[in-house]
């Protein structure tokens, strides 16, 4: 396998402005892919697009609210106008917006978590499906929270359970088009979105906080750098046609 195994490929990465999404976009670009990125605001994705161009690849960055079908449809049209088709779709946009027990939850925040994590993933799939080439890959960033219930974050649990199920349903539907659909379970990742760190101003601050310290969820877990996700997604995206589909690839360190 050369280090430009994705040369000539087009990849879409949602939530590509920072953290896991940024790492994924840079790893795919580093392997030769051109990238279309989106997130809700432009500043961060514009900066990542510049990093991608510095690697010699093309980049298209547009602001999109993935929960809004019309915006997603427009985004898909803009991407296919620019690139004609896509090969890899990484549904990474997500996060937990309502944290706390159901009994005191804000229904609007609860709904928003499902909107972004679940409907966002569905919208992107629906909008791009006709334009994914044979041999293409759909990779959904889900979560161990989609496999195992906990108290205090039901919206995120439910949304990720739904996204995990969607991955499997879609795999069963489109295998005969040669498109493989898998999900990624990141485990604990140091990003500025996590709710279990007291200083989440940067990836480095979260890593530093848990250096040599007991991580949340299970003592065996490890807080990792988002680049490890970039590496794993590159691996999955580089598999040959007819590779795994309907499966989960996990960096978690606790059984589910």
């Amino acid at each position: 396998m050369t280090d430009q195994q994705l040369a000539g490929k087009i990849a879409v990465v949602t939530g590509g402005g920072r953290g896991i999404g940024r790492s994924i976009a840079l790893y795919l670009a580093g392997a030769g892919a051109d990238i279309a990125l989106c997130s809700r605001t432009s500043n961060e994705i514009d900066a990542v697009a510049a990093e991608i161009r510095a690697l010699g690849r093309r980049a298209l960055a547009l602001p999109v609210d993935v929960a809004d079908w019309a915006q997603v449809e427009s985004f898909a049209r803009a991407v296919t106008d620019e690139f004609d088709h896509i090969d890899i779709l990484v549904n990474n946009a997500g996060g937990g917006f309502e944290v706390g027990p159901v009994a005191v939850s804000d229904p609007a925040g609860w709904r928003e978590t499902v909107e972004i994590n679940l409907f966002g993933t569905y919208h992107m799939i629906r909008a791009f499906l006709d334009d994914i080439a044979r041999g293409g890959k759909i990779i959904n960033i889900t979560s161990g929270m989609g496999l195992e219930a906990r108290p205090g974050n039901s919206s995120y649990n439910a949304a990720k359970a739904g996204a995990h199920m969607l991955t499997q349903c879609l795999a069963l539907e489109i295998w005969d088009r040669g498109i493989d659909v898998n999900d990624i379970i990141p485990g604990l990742v140091a990003t500025t979105n996590v709710d279990w760190a007291s200083d989440r101003s940067s990836v480095e601050s979260v890593l530093a906080e848990f250096e040599g310290k007991q991580p949340p969820f299970a003592p065996s877990e490890r807080v990792k750098h988002p680049d490890e996700l970039g590496d794993l997604v590159l691996w999955v995206a580089s598999m040959p046609e007819g590779g795994p589909t309907g499966q989960s690839f996990s960096l978690a360190r606790r059984p589910f």
């Binding site: 159901v102 499906l129 039901s154 739904g162 499997q168």
Partner: protein, 257 residues
């Protein structure tokens, strides 16, 4: 048959099919009922059956995805009964069928909203009025545990409901409220029969239709059952003692899930 006497039960989507059977079974066991759905004529018929068992019945037209409507019905219920002991989140169904590639995004979204948001909104709205010893029963599905290939909206919605039940169980056990999933398996209802809007094929006709074999998406050893069997299971779940199962699944399916 008075195991639920003195108790108040709310059944969403209780106008027909599984919800209706659950409401009547609870009434027979002595509970007072609150039933909501979207069709007045169906609610009237269920209310008659419930009252014929000697129980009270509060009804309301509620779109379970409409938070304000859910909260208004909650207010009516509390004004009438002061509390609710058993919440059955049954409203649901598969509105969007077919492959993702041809799906209608609005109907796909709506399927998830009705099944998942409906369950969440009712739980959220009623929670503070459920006493120690209360029960929440969420109607899940084998489709929420195993993917199929032409029903992703429903698969996804029920996967979410199933997970939500477990989360809620994890949160409410210190309050003595037990939360479990009920998996009916295939049931002879209008929804299952894919009746057109407004059409209501009689239960017995659906049972006869599938007497020899269930529809092709099920293995041959599955059985399309009468909704009253689901009512019996819901009653069993509702009458477990405090500190009984929670975060568990009770299923009438006839295939491993």
């Amino acid at each position: 048959m008075s195991e639920l006497s003195g108790q108040v039960a709310l059944v969403t989507g209780g106008g027909r099919g599984i919800g209706r059977s659950i409401a009547i079974a609870f009434a027979r066991a002595g509970a007072d009922l609150a039933v909501c759905s979207r069709t007045q004529s169906e609610l009237d018929e269920v209310a008659e059956k419930v009252q014929a068992e000697g129980a009270n019945c509060l009804t309301g037209i509620v779109d379970v995805t409409d938070r304000a409507a859910v909260e208004r019905f909650r207010d009516d219920l509390i004004q009438r009964y002061e509390r609710v002991d058993i919440l059955v989140n049954n409203a649901g169904g598969g509105l969007e069928r077919g492959v993702v590639a041809e799906s209608d995004p609005d109907r796909w979204r709506r399927t998830v909203e009705v099944n998942l948001f409906g369950t969440y909104l009712f739980s959220r709205a009623l929670l503070e009025h459920i006493p120690d010893g209360g029960k929440i029963i969420n109607v899940s599905s084998g489709m929420g545990l195993k993917a199929a290939n032409q029903s992703s909206a429903y698969n996804v919605a029920k996967a979410g409901v199933h997970m939500f039940t477990e989360c809620l169980a994890n949160e409410l056990w210190p309050r003595g409220i037990d939360v479990n999933n009920l998996i009916p398996g295939p049931v002879a209802t209008s929804t299952f029969n894919r009746d057109a809007p407004g059409q209501r094929t009689p239960t017995e006709e659906i049972i006869t239709k599938f007497a020899d074999e269930p529809p092709p998406q099920f293995p041959k050893f599955e059985r399309v059952k009468h909704p009253d069997e689901v009512g019996e299971l819901a009653l069993y779940m509702a009458t477990r003692p405090r500190g009984g199962p929670t975060g568990q699944t009770f299923s009438l399916a006839r295939r491993p899930l």
